[in-house]
């Protein structure tokens, strides 16, 4: 029994690793006022880049770096469209997800079904680094000048602008940082969690990461709890297959997300949600 619990916890930690990385990135992007619904797309591009580079070079770490770069580049596109062109952030993120899933599916076709030679262990330094990262990002957000600049950019870009903050630059940096973390999250899937490449292997994890962002009230430390909770749920959906319909279990994290959103609904205005989230900002207008 104890062993069952222990392995369950370890496996849950493994699934929660990519969820944590991706949601930490999304928290920073959203704290600066930009919602990025492209997490799923950035993750899948990260997963493909990581797999290809790890396979070719033989170094999983090189794969993760490539994943970070791919995620960052994809996020740059979202930043350009939503920050510079001031387009609808929701639609831009959706477009990024479509494009990411499509590109990864097209470019990755030749890699389908080949096992990765050099892999990372399931619980690797990435898991621990995720926890450290959460603590570090919490410190930066709440106790440094940089964190204050980011928060004020998301709460009131006009006020921040008036105080000499470069709103565009802050938003660009936060969105790209979010993309880098989402890319690594995807890379973790293809070089550690399930060391292979399959089309659509992110399987909705990117969307769950966005839900964790809301669940965590846009707070990096609480994201740790959120990621573990959803990770445990994902793992349970494999464990309970003997007793409950597998399809019902696989649906669980998504149904649970809706429940969580409903249960934490009050948070949207009260605590956490950046005031200017989702609103494009134009310097000098209004």
């Amino acid at each position: 029994m104890l062993e069952w619990v222990l392995t369950a916890i370890v496996r849950a930690l493994a699934v929660s690793t990519p969820l944590l990385w991706a949601s930490l990135g999304e928290i920073y992007a959203e704290r600066s006022g930009v919602i990025n619904l492209g997490v799923e797309g950035m993750m899948i591009l990260g997963a493909l880049s990581a797999f290809v580079v790890a396979q070719v070079t033989g170094y999983p770490v090189a794969g993760l770096l490539a994943a970070a770069a791919a995620g960052g580049l994809a996020a740059l596109l979202h930043a350009f469209v939503s920050v510079t062109l001031r387009a609808n952030q929701y639609v831009s993120g959706l477009a990024l997800t479509m494009l990411g899933l499509g590109l990864a599916g097209v470019l990755g076709r030749g890699w389908e079904g080949t096992p990765l030679l050099n892999t990372l262990p399931e619980i690797s330094w990435l898991t621990y680094m995720g926890l450290l990262l959460a603590a570090g990002l919490w410190l930066v957000l709440h106790h440094t000048r940089m964190g204050m600049v980011i928060r004020s950019t998301g709460e009131s870009p006009a006020a921040a602008d008036a105080l000499g903050v470069n709103v565009y630059l802050v938003r660009y940096l936060c969105v790209v940082f979010g993309g880098v973390l989402a890319g690594v999250a995807g890379g973790f899937l293809s070089v550690a969690y399930r060391p292979s490449w399959t089309e659509g292997m992110t399987a909705g994890l990117g969307w769950i990461a966005i839900a964790i962002t809301i669940f965590a009230g846009w707070d990096p430390l609480r994201a740790v709890a959120g990621a573990f909770l959803f990770g445990a749920l994902f793992h349970l959906s494999f464990r309970l297959q003997a007793w409950i319909q597998p399809e019902a279990l696989r649906m669980m994290p998504f149904a649970f997300t809706i429940l969580v959103l409903a249960a934490t609904a009050g948070r949207r205005r009260g605590q956490g949600a950046p005031e200017a989230l989702g609103l494009p900002y134009a310097s000098g207008e209004r």
Binding site: V81, S92, T97, L99, G102, V106, I258, L261
Partner: protein, 367 residues
């Protein structure tokens, strides 16, 4: 005001129809050029690729009707989204609502004793209600608890997907399906008529066009259409005008999700004649419908054109799969790029160029 060579850049509040069309076509063209670079990276000459796509779709007498077939669910889903977007409700759940409609229609076709002439109408009614019901939970959560509808409608897509998986593997698994995961085949009376020699189930197509006309009339003339428009454009003004946002959004979403449900009915009753894997019932029509609605810019009649265009993209995907050996996912690349260029060019709509050589100042009210 900025200058661009001999032109003056002016801001306009309401762009002209011709300018909207120009910018939209320009965005689509730019997306096709960007997609061409991906062909190029694949070692395929983009011009040759587009020529092959043209030859395999529009120019092929047997393949051209496939555009209509693919446009049918896109039109129904897109019309629903036009309505939802006009009420500023971000319904991203058309995919799940479509599946819910397909499930409801399958239930009626296989498990009710409704006599022949009434079976298909009953399936459409059930499909509409199934879709509408699927859209209700996120709508109520948004209206009562302010839960972000983008995430909740999207999650409902996954819930619908796994529900269909469960049905076809479990309780609804066909007795004649042997090892395969799908339901029994529908009786003859539950199948939609096709245009001979094609896979176009024309009753659904006619329904879509009629609905487009009805919605155009309804948005332009009827009181509720007016309320939806005001609510979408200016929620504060709507409150002063005594428009009840709860009732208006609820009604808009019933029709929005219901229309997606109708699209699901068409797919199972017109093409497959059974409920099968969710990825086969819908090739991502619910997501592509977002582009249909966005391109149509709030006009139900324009959605007929934009659905046809997206139908063309989908049949191009088939051509690319067969003749260029590319995965069908390439349609997602097209869809993503089109969406990007479309919203990226949105800002252009609010500007226009005016010929003003020599830099002489012109007085305008909106400067």
């Amino acid at each position: 005001m900025k200058r661009l060579g001999p032109f003056r850049v002016e801001r306009v509040l309401v762009p002209s129809g011709a300018w909207v069309l120009t910018v939209s076509l320009g965005a689509v063209a730019a997306a096709l050029v960007a997609a061409g670079m991906i062909f190029w990276a694949f070692g395929i000459n983009p011009l040759r690729a587009y020529a092959m796509i043209f030859a395999g779709t529009l120019a092929d007498r047997r393949a051209a009707p496939e555009i209509l077939r693919q446009a049918t669910p896109l039109l129904l889903g897109g019309l629903g989204l036009v309505l939802a977007f006009r009420a500023q409700f971000w319904n991203i759940g058309a995919e799940g609502q479509l599946l819910a409609g397909a499930v409801a229609a399958t239930g009626v076709a296989l498990f009710t004793p409704i006599p022949a002439p009434w079976l298909l109408p009953a399936m459409f009614v059930a499909g509409f209600l199934g879709g509408a019901l699927w859209g209700m939970l996120p709508t109520l959560l948004r209206l009562k608890l302010e839960v972000n509808e983008v995430v909740s409608t999207l999650m409902m897509n996954y819930v619908a997907l796994f529900s269909v998986e469960w049905l076809i593997h479990g309780p609804w698994k066909g007795k004649t399906a042997f090892g395969f995961a799908y339901t029994d085949t529908f009786p003859e009376a539950a199948r939609l008529a096709l245009i001979p020699g094609t896979r176009v189930h024309w009753p659904t197509l006619v329904l879509g066009i009629a609905l487009a006309g009805a919605l155009a009339f309804f948005l332009g003339r009827a009181r509720l259409g007016f309320e939806i428009r005001v609510l979408g454009e200016n929620p504060v003004a709507a409150r002063y005008a005594g428009i009840d946002p709860v009732r208006t959004i609820l009604l808009a979403m019933v029709f929005s999700a219901g229309a997606a449900g109708l699209a699901g009915v068409g797919e199972v009753a017109g093409i497959h004649h059974k409920l099968l894997a969710p990825g086969q019932v819908s090739l991502g029509y619910g997501y592509a419908a977002i582009i249909v609605a966005w391109l149509a810019r709030g006009s139900p009649l324009a959605a007929i054109i934009t659905a046809l265009f997206l139908g063309l993209i989908y049949s191009s995907g088939d051509v690319m799969k067969v003749t260029l050996q590319m995965p069908f996912r390439v349609t997602d690349v097209f869809n993503g790029l089109i969406l990007f260029f479309l919203i990226g060019s949105e800002r252009l709509l609010n500007y226009r160029l005016r010929w003003a050589p020599g830099g002489r100042p012109v007085e305008t009210a909106d400067a």
